[in-house]
Amino acid sequence: MSDILGGYNFAYLDEQTKRMIRRAILKAVAVPGYQVPFAGREMPLPYGWGTGGIQVTASVISADDVLKVIDQGADDTTNAVSIRRFFAKTAGVRTTTKTAEATLIQTRHRIPERRLTEGQIIVYQVPNPEPLRWMEPRESETRKMHALLEYGAMHVKLYEDIVHFGRIATSYDYPVRVNGRYIMAPSPIPKFDNPKMDGMPALQLFGAGREKRIYAVPPYTRVESLDFEDYPFEVQRWDQSCALCGATDSYLDEVITDDRGGRMFVCSDTDHCSERRAASDEAEGDGIRRPVEEEAAE
């Protein structure tokens, strides 16, 4: 592409930095769920706005990749637009809003509804990589706890939830155990998405820029959400279906429609929703495909 930003390397980061990050990624893949410290760089986007995910994406992206970026499940949320533009500008790669078309998906807070496939990579933006942080604020301690499999504090926390509330009150960033070993923060995805991580055919990479940590879940790896035999893990359910596409099996966002308590529920995954609507339009035979999402590629 002709409008690639001049003066910078492909995908912004220099090759030495990419190599350093790829080494961290390889280690992370080799030890699933383990947080690998890496020499995170200062990015031209703010810390906390996806710098970890951006660095991981920049290190694994190649010119023939097709990139999808979502935030809250949607391709058109402002920060997703901003990150997609960053890569369109610095790497000139093709971008898409379609989960099926993407080879590389960077996400904040969601996993697409469509099952990801072999060969795809999903990169999560992670604010707090340490699942034990709310029980122990010190990094020097939590690293020891992971090393010694000292996860009692986490189970006590979940147990206390049950005693206080009659249920585990965590609804997002719900802790998981990876490959039977490390307890891992799945990033602030709703617990609705946790089961998708288990045995996922795609490679899952996690980047925390501010905290300078990378971790990974290789394809087809066991990912269990923590629970108790008598209080098994459950995902969110809605009484409603999506007001736009009628889906009953997707994660729904509540949209306030007026100031008198009016609200509607719609799919958080915009690609999933528009695909379903397009399919039903075709089935109805009016022959007109109504693309709801415009192509983001410019």
């Binding site: 200062e42 031209p44 703010p46 809250q72 058109d76 010190r138 009150a169 609804s171 995805i189 958080s268």
Partner: protein, 370 residues
């Protein structure tokens, strides 16, 4: 209908146009030039260079202009640029003893070799708004007193004290590799080189508050401003092909050596200990507060018990960076409706079970509270 998440691209473009317009302000008013900023807002430029860890007055001034005077934003701009720069070499340690002094004061001795040199300081000004500056005040004309002192005649106060053994010796171990927090992830416990780098890049306001807290009893360090000196020092590198040091230019720095009372421990005799601060340009408050916090962070090393926030290295070093802190605080502006939806569901369910339990108890339930 449902438009909440649509139109992101257009909205961003429009926001950037508005930002450019707001930055420029009234076009009838002359636009600021980079040299005006670097000349007349020099202390802001110094702060941006210090926390941005890049010594370039023009780039720092540009960052301040582009950031509309938002200093943390300007630091961020400079850092994001710095990280793309190639590293051509490593300079030798600067020698502040050989500084060409513009300002040098000691609070521990009334007079000392080289004397006290006030230099350009706000100290002892009366903070009265000077309305003459509104119309463009002229600087007092006439020859200014020459304050440049011969470096050899101005030994560091810490060297004078050190000669008597009253102050802990501080000798560089040049065989040790020096950490680089911009190239290696921070790990705890951190060594002093790494700690000082973090403090040098740390937010002045945050460190000021921490330093202040040690003066109010949260980790007292009994500090004296042994010496504050500001002036220019030479930067030297040894190019491999030459094998000897060459001077590549001068930079202005402010150095503060705090001298702290220390009663001694099992392994050390009573003597004064040091806290060290160094910042680019004329950044006296930063250098002083850095020195206070540096000394507070040495508590463990000196056999003390860590009880106060300023003594806690994980607390201080993990939170002193303004670029990281502002990024993460401000990320709360990003959409969180997926997580919030999860929380809504949880709170609704919790409230339902709460109400059901109350009804079962036959207790009075609140009406209309869903």
């Amino acid at each position: 209908m449902y438009v909440a998440v649509k139109g992101g691209e257009q909205a961003i473009d429009n926001a950037h146009k508005l930002l450019a317009e707001a930055r420029r302000g009234d076009p009838a008013v002359a636009e600021l030039t980079i040299s005006q900023i670097s000349q007349q807002l020099g202390i802001a430029v110094d702060r941006v260079m210090t926390e941005g860890s890049l010594y370039d007055r023009d780039l720092a001034a540009l960052a301040i202009k582009q950031a509309r005077g938002d200093i943390i934003e300007a630091v961020f701009l400079l850092r994001a640029y710095r990280t793309t720069l190639p590293r051509l070499g490593v300079a030798l340690p600067i020698d502040t003893a050989a500084m060409t002094i513009e300002r040098r004061i000691s609070a521990t001795f009334k007079d000392l070799p080289g004397g006290q040199i006030l230099g350009p300081t706000f100290d002892y000004t009366h903070r009265l708004l000077d309305f003459a500056l509104v119309v463009g005040g002229e600087v007092p004309v006439g020859p200014l007193p020459v304050t440049m002192a011969d470096p050899e005649a101005v030994p560091r106060v810490t060297d004078i004290l050190g000669a008597e053994g009253l102050l802990e010796a501080e000798t560089a171990d040049d065989d040790q590799p020096v950490g680089d927090i911009t190239r290696e992830p921070l790990a705890f416990p951190a060594d002093r080189d790494v700690r000082l780098q973090c403090l040098a890049r740390g937010d002045e306001g945050f460190l000021l508050a921490l330093g202040y807290s040690t003066q109010r009893g949260f980790g007292k360090t009994h500090p004296f401003a042994g010496e504050i000196r500001m002036g220019t020092v030479a930067v030297e590198i040894v190019p491999e092909e030459l094998g000897f040091a060459i001077d590549i230019g001068d930079i202005t720095v402010t150095e503060c050596q705090m001298v702290n009372q220390f009663k001694g421990s099992k392994n050390r005799p009573p003597q004064f200990t040091r806290g060290y601060g160094l910042a680019f340009g004329h950044s006296e408050r930063k250098a002083m507060t850095m020195a206070l916090v540096d000394r507070a962070l040495r508590t463990k090393e000196l056999g003390g018990e860590v009880t106060a926030p300023a003594q806690d290295e994980e607390f201080v070093l993990s939170h002193c960076d303004a670029v990281a802190a502002s990024g993460f605080v401000e990320h709360l502006k990003l959409p969180h409706y997926v997580d919030f939806q999860g929380e809504l569901g949880t709170v609704r369910a919790l409230r339902r079970s709460c109400q059901n339990a109350a009804q079962e108890d036959g207790a009075k339930t609140e009406d209309g509270d869903v």
